[in-house]
């Protein structure tokens, strides 16, 4: 018994940490999150279409793909939960259309053919009850017959599909059903399910101050948060660093003011210079205030591994630069069927640059294992390559988005890399867990991401007078996006925090074991089927209110898109593993590729090739991440 009391003491002393766990740095911890693959995918696919199309980054296009992502995402999130619980629902696609059609038939006037002429106030709960009934039926059949859910829900799919067609034709004589605006309750429910935000009606001229401020403050907060979680924190803070930190912060404010109050590239370079210097000074002040300095940084030592990667990386970046000058894009002729010369140039540049900077990052990572000085030298070379690449792009690109936005982003990347390596030279990196530092860091991280999201949201929701004069395309943001975000947030919380969420993982992972310890396995699975059916009802409402009419075939066959989105988001096909947030990102990736291919003016038939490639890449990446995560757990 002496042993165990000693162990309990040790636990209470260490405050949750455990000295036998190999320390995982903030970057390693980030990398093994199950959603990371989908998040990188979202950023990658967005960047790809932003670069190859004319207008993918505009508010109008964002509205386009978010609109598609919303209905797809609501279903993908629900389906991913069911898949985590170890089942499939092939009727989910047909169910969305069925609920919409049922609803329309309930409220359609009796005057023309068919329809019950009910109030919407009654039709909404009735159709919801029917949806719950369908979910319950699916769950009950699967549990009672012990047949695979694939077969049971395939049967439900055919029944629903037939009922939709049959009833629509029998009652209205047509294969599409329509209702008019005069049903009672329409004015109340229409804004709930199909309200829109007209961007061009909301003018906010000082929007960009808040946009830029939010972005920069958010980025600064994230940087501080990551440092807080990466370096060894001093036990007693050194106040000498505070004034330096203050100077940096003041410089940052000055940079924002200069950037906003002047127009034209000359002033922007001045602002960028102030920004760069103040970030360096401020972060250095912050670090000497809070972090433990390192003893010795060591001297430069380039191993053969580092030089190989460094050389290959620089060569690839050089190739990217050459591409941008050699391929003539002025005429933007069609090269072959789906691609233009402009598109080819961008794709080649992206491939070379992507490969080049990946190789340089590998070199930097290897250098880190040697010593901080070597890391600084390799990072400085990488930063120089980034700066060179930025100027090449500015010189060769016509489009203002490359000339300013990408240019600034690349310069900012070079700055971040340099500052980070200089900090690494001077301050000790953490080698053991520090829960207090992590807590503070995570709070700042959330605040920082919140600010960036706020900045992006206001930029999309409001116009300035200048933009109106330039006649930007009108964007209409539908309330369905709020349904998507809200539904995803609730489901993520349920999966991670509630007993039902825990039971969902358990019945998918090992149903017998779950049952033995008292988890109501049959009830949990039935409730999961009901969640999917409830989501289908919600999507049915969103579809019905958008156009006041629905085709009988609406939703048929989309169930596989839900499953693909869930799998792209990291949900395992065999159950027991996955995340709802990942499924939402998976839906965003799919919606972006559908809309992006149109924005890039490619033939839309190519979307299937694109989807196939994404699915394959996602599955491989998720497998890799899961293996990494498990290996990390085993250590």
């Amino acid at each position: 018994m002496n042993d165990s009391t000693a162990v309990t003491d040790a636990i209470s002393k260490s405050g949750g940490g455990d000295e036998r766990l190999a320390y995982r740095s903030i970057f390693q911890r980030m990398f093994i999150q199950p959603e990371i693959g989908a998040i990188i995918g979202v950023i990658g696919v967005w960047a790809f279409f932003w670069a190859v199309s004319l207008n993918f980054g505009t508010a109008g296009q964002t509205q386009n793909w978010l609109d598609t992502a919303s209905t797809l995402g609501i279903m993908a999130v629900a389906v991913s939960m069911l898949m985590i619980g170890g089942e499939f629902d092939l009727s989910s696609g047909a169910n969305t259309g069925a609920m919409g059609i049922l609803f329309i038939l309930l409220i359609k006037e009796t005057g023309d053919l068919g329809g019950l002429g009910l109030s919407i106030w009654i039709a909404v709960p009735i159709s919801f009850a029917v949806a719950m009934g369908i979910g319950y039926f699916n769950g009950w059949m699967v549990e009672r017959t012990a047949l695979p859910s694939f077969i049971v829900t395939l049967a439900t799919f055919f029944i629903l599909r037939g009922l939709k067609l049959g009833l629509a034709k029998l009652l209205t004589g047509q294969i599409s059903v329509t209702f008019t605006n005069d049903a009672s309750g329409y004015d109340f429910f229409r804004p709930i399910f199909a309200g829109v935000w007209q961007r061009n009606e909301h003018i906010w001229n000082s929007r960009d101050v808040f946009y830029l401020g939010g972005l920069i403050l958010g980025a600064v907060l994230i940087t501080l948060a990551v440092s807080e979680m990466h370096f060894v924190r001093r036990s007693t803070k050194s106040a000498a660093g505070l004034p330096i930190f203050g100077i940096g912060a003041a410089g940052l404010v000055a940079a924002i003011v200069v950037m906003h109050s002047t127009d034209g590239t000359g002033a922007n370079i001045l602002a960028a210079a102030i920004l760069g210097v103040s970030v360096l000074v401020g972060l250095f002040g912050f670090a000497s205030w809070r972090f433990e300095p390192v003893g010795s940084a060591g001297s430069l030592r380039l191993t053969s591994g580092i030089t190989t990667y460094l050389g290959a990386g620089l060569a690839a970046v050089a190739a990217a630069c050459v591409c941008s000058f050699v391929i003539d894009s002025d005429n933007a002729e069609t090269l072959f069927f789906p691609f233009t010369v402009q598109g080819l140039r961008v794709v080649l540049m992206m491939i070379f640059a992507g490969a080049g900077f990946t190789l340089l990052m590998i070199a930097a990572n290897r250098a880190l294992r040697v010593n901080p000085t070597t890391k600084l030298v390799v990072s400085a070379i990488t930063a120089a390559a980034l700066v060179a690449f930025a100027f090449v792009i500015q010189a060769s690109a016509e489009d203002p988005k490359f000339r300013t936005e990408l240019f600034s982003a690349l310069l900012f990347g070079a700055l971040a890399l340099t500052v980070w390596s200089i900090l690494g030279l001077r301050f000790a990196e953490r080698r053991k867990v520090d829960p207090a530092g992590d807590r503070l860091g995570i709070q700042a991280l959330i605040l920082g991401f919140g600010l960036i999201v706020f900045a992006i949201v206001i930029r999309h929701l409001f116009v300035t007078d200048d933009e109106l004069l330039a006649e930007v395309n009108p964007a209409k943001f539908s309330v369905r996006m709020l349904w998507f975000f809200g539904f995803t947030a609730v489901m993520v919380w349920i999966l991670a925090r509630t007993r039902f969420g825990s039971w969902t993982f358990a019945v998918g992972g090992n149903k017998e074991a779950a049952r033995q310890v008292g988890v109501p396995a049959a009830r949990t699975k039935t409730q999961l089927f009901m969640i999917v059916s409830g989501a289908a009802w919600l999507v049915g409402m969103l579809l019905a209110f958008r156009l006041n009419s629905l085709q009988a075939g609406a939703g048929d066959g989309e169930e596989f898109e839900y499953i693909i989105a869930a799998v792209v988001g990291g949900t395992m096909l065999t159950g027991g593993y996955g995340t709802a947030l990942g499924a939402a990102f998976g839906a965003a990736i799919m919606a972006m590729s559908l809309v992006g291919i149109q924005a890039a003016r490619w033939n839309t038939d190519w979307r299937f090739v694109f989807l196939g490639v994404i699915l394959l890449l996602a599955v491989i990446a998720n497998r890799f991440i899961r293996d990494k995560a498990e290996a990390a757990g085993r250590r």
Binding site: W493, S502, A506, G576
Partner: protein, 262 residues
Amino acid sequence: MAEQNLLELDNISKFYGNIIALEGVSTVVNAGEVTCVLGDNGAGKSTFIKILAGVHQQSEGTIRLNGEEVSFGSPRDALSAGIATVYQDLAMVPLMSVWRNFFLGSEPTKSLGPIKWIDQGKAKKIAKEEMAKMGIDIRDTEQAVGTLSGGERQSVAIARAGYFGAKVLILDEPTSALGVKQSGVVLKRIVEARNQGLAVIFITHNPRHAYPVGNRFLILNRGKSMGSFAKDEITIDELTQLMAGGAELEALEHELAEATAD
């Protein structure tokens, strides 16, 4: 009787149709003691636990818990009477974390009005403490159970049964799938559970595992009880001999000679 036994089994028999699976088995189980049930394959060990765990009902005989006659209609009955069974397949979900597995089905919750959620801080802390009481210092309760070793998984299952108020802990062949070192770990856990005042029923076919930890030995052979002995009434050689029914005695003696040489 002056002192009352926690669990008493009197003349238990089980028939499946005309097949006699178990006949006339009697033994006692006490708090803070380990009762080992030994027998070769087909000796009736599985039938014996299934009756105790409430999966099957005995055809004849009586079970007394704290002196009162009881009958378990389902595994849930047995569990609520304080008899927890740790099966060989462990009842664990490999992809889930240690703390989630520990509390699976009985998660502690916090609530705000009708909204309830798992009290994660409390669950993680308790899981870690309970494992520590068993002498296992789990590194990280967020670790997936699938990444634990076989012995550690058994320890999670044993700690869980103890925490949820089991008075009698039935372990079904906990060492059979484990290596030598891992078996040692599990045997240590059994002793820990006993020291905490649990009555342990340890089912095994390995007398070398049973003898060092057991206080009482029930030997089954071909469905019949070969007797129930206290530790001072029997030696390990006699135990082995009874278990094998004298059949493969020479081979066993050989094996034991090697064992003593270790």
